[in-house]
């Protein structure tokens, strides 16, 4: 029944992971750093930067995909890199979509909690470096939640990966673009089947992440 998928299903799952895992990992690091940096520094025009970040949090993937396409096409600014229609370009596009989401979430939770943590660290006589470390530790749950949200966005996103990846069979076809193609072929049962696999994978990744986080939390109790 699923003969159109059997050969390619594993390949599609692997391509999806090759795109979403690096893109969410890079975005988690970049977004957390940016969010904390933004909260920790005061400068002229900060409110505008925060406003821009908020706007980018809701940027439509197709627009980001289009921008990436124009940048990476052969006649584009980065055309010499020759990465359009490859996993690399898809990762770049997704990083552009997800990083603002993570930095925005980290920033707003840091803004809420950081003053208390700072004054606590100050009373305890902590150095600037120790304070920063404490801040990251205390905000661990929020950072984790932001990173998981980023991954959720990455794995469910279709607009940008379709444009930048081109939905090439066996190379840049992800689960979401494969579902789009199956729908175009009128194969609704296969499309739904693939959709269920996609959701199962999202669940698995989340459970694994939950477990890792759980372990760290237990370790923290020893302090």
């Amino acid at each position: 029944m699923f003969d159109a998928l059997d050969a390619g299903l594993l390949n599609i799952i692997i391509t999806t992971m090759k795109v979403t895992l690096p893109s969410s990992a890079i975005s988690a690091v970049l977004g957390t750093a940016l969010g904390l940096l933004l909260e920790g520094s005061q400068f002229y025009g900060k409110r505008i930067i925060v406003r821009i970040n908020r706007t980018l949090m809701g940027s439509p993937p197709v627009v980001v995909g289009l921008v990436c396409y124009l940048l990476f096409m052969r006649k584009g600014v980065f055309g010499f890199m020759d990465i359009l229609f490859s996993v690399k370009a898809m990762v770049v596009a997704q990083v552009m979509i997800i990083t603002p989401i993570i930095s925005g979430m980290v920033y707003s939770s840091a803004e809420r909690n950081a003053p208390n943590i700072r004054s606590f660290a100050h009373t305890m006589g902590a150095s600037a470096g120790q304070t920063r470390l404490l801040l990251i530790k205390e905000l661990k749950n929020e950072v984790y939640f932001a990173a998981i949200s980023g991954f959720g966005r990455a794995i469910s996103e279709v607009g940008a990966v379709m444009i930048v990846g081109g939905n090439i069979r066996g190379k840049t076809r992800t689960m979401t673009t494969a579902i789009t193609l199956l729908r175009n072929q009128g194969n609704y049962s296969e499309a739904i089947y693939l959709g269920c696999v996609l959701m199962a994978i999202a669940l698995c990744v989340q459970l694994v992440a939950d477990n890792l986080k759980g372990k760290e939390a237990v370790g923290d109790d020893n302090y």
């Binding site: 692997i14 992971m17 229609f85 009128g186 609704y188 459970l207 694994v208």
Partner: protein
């Protein structure tokens, strides 16, 4: 407490190993594919920009592995509408095009984006609509389109500048009809398969290429109301993009693809595609 912790760890371990297995299996099958590529040496990759009908119908999945095996060229297929495919050619983003809109293809060549356009194959368009609807079966396009317009029947247009969309507009124009004056006229802006799905749901008429129509799995209540008209012929051409458009164009690979798809073995392959499943070929080869 300790027990659940162990359970949780085991669970995490099981999941992690599941992913490891999936990844390993993937790597294995990937390398297996490379090794099993036949005697031909791998040459590189070409970008083929084509219409949705060749991809959605499954033709490319049927013939491209043979091309790769025989010539050593890997093909990255980008399936978009003919308008978008031609634009990719003008941008120097595609190495070779497989499209179906003859006037635009000729303009593409005369504008200097390519040296040659070659005939590859043809099929025909059909007009489909709800079974038992207001339109009786006919082999006269003019009659069917005129009836749809006159009775203001729902009609879903591709509306995406594809070859099929251009064809539809050309037919309306040749009949002197402004399709938008029909209140039931909808511009979908989607590929052929998605448009057929919309026509089914809306109990509307639409123009479709026969290959996508035959291979579309969920026809529902739709049936052919008009076919076999001279006006509905749908020729496909292959165009290797000229190296003068961009220095990154793979002219060697593009020409190799054009030479191959117009060669006798490839033409025979096209003629057999779909015969077993649909009782008729989806495309008829006509390379000269």
């Amino acid at each position: 407490m300790g027990n659940t912790k162990v359970k949780k760890r085991l669970f995490a371990l099981a999941l992690a190993s599941f992913f490891a297995i999936v990844l390993l299996a993937g790597c294995k099958s990937n390398s297996g594919g490379n090794v099993g590529g036949g005697g031909t040496e791998a040459k590189g990759t070409i970008i083929l920009s084509t219409t949705t009908s060749t991809e959605d119908s499954g033709l490319l999945a049927y013939i491209l592995p043979v091309f790769t095996e025989q010539t050593g060229w890997e093909v990255d297929t980008i399936a978009v509408g003919t308008g978008a495919a031609l634009q990719m050619g003008r941008d120097g983003q595609a190495d070779v095009l497989l499209v179906h809109s003859r006037p635009d293809e000729d303009t593409f060549v005369s504008d200097g984006y390519a040296e040659m356009r070659y005939d590859v194959m043809y099929n025909d368009y059909v007009i489909v609509g709800p079974a038992g609807g207001e339109i009786a079966y006919s082999e006269d396009v003019a009659e069917t389109f005129a009836a749809i317009a006159a009775q203001e029947l729902p009609f879903v247009s591709r509306g995406d500048d594809s070859g099929t969309h251009k064809k539809e507009l050309a037919v309306w124009k040749s009949l002197g009809i402004t399709p938008e004056s029909n209140t039931g006229y909808t511009s979908a802006g989607q590929g052929m398969g998605a448009t057929l799905g919309m026509a089914k749901e809306m109990e509307a008429y639409t123009l479709a290429d026969r290959a996508t129509w035959l291979s579309y799995a969920d026809k529902g209540n739709l049936e052919i109301v008009c076919e076999k008209s001279e006006l509905l012929l749908n020729p496909y051409g292959v165009i290797p993009v000229s190296g003068t458009v961009d220095e990154q164009i793979n002219t060697e690979g593009g020409q190799a693809f054009a030479d191959w798809i117009t060669s006798q073995p490839a033409q025979d392959l096209i003629a057999t595609f779909g015969v077993e499943e649909y009782g008729q070929p989806l495309f008829y080869p006509d390379a000269k």
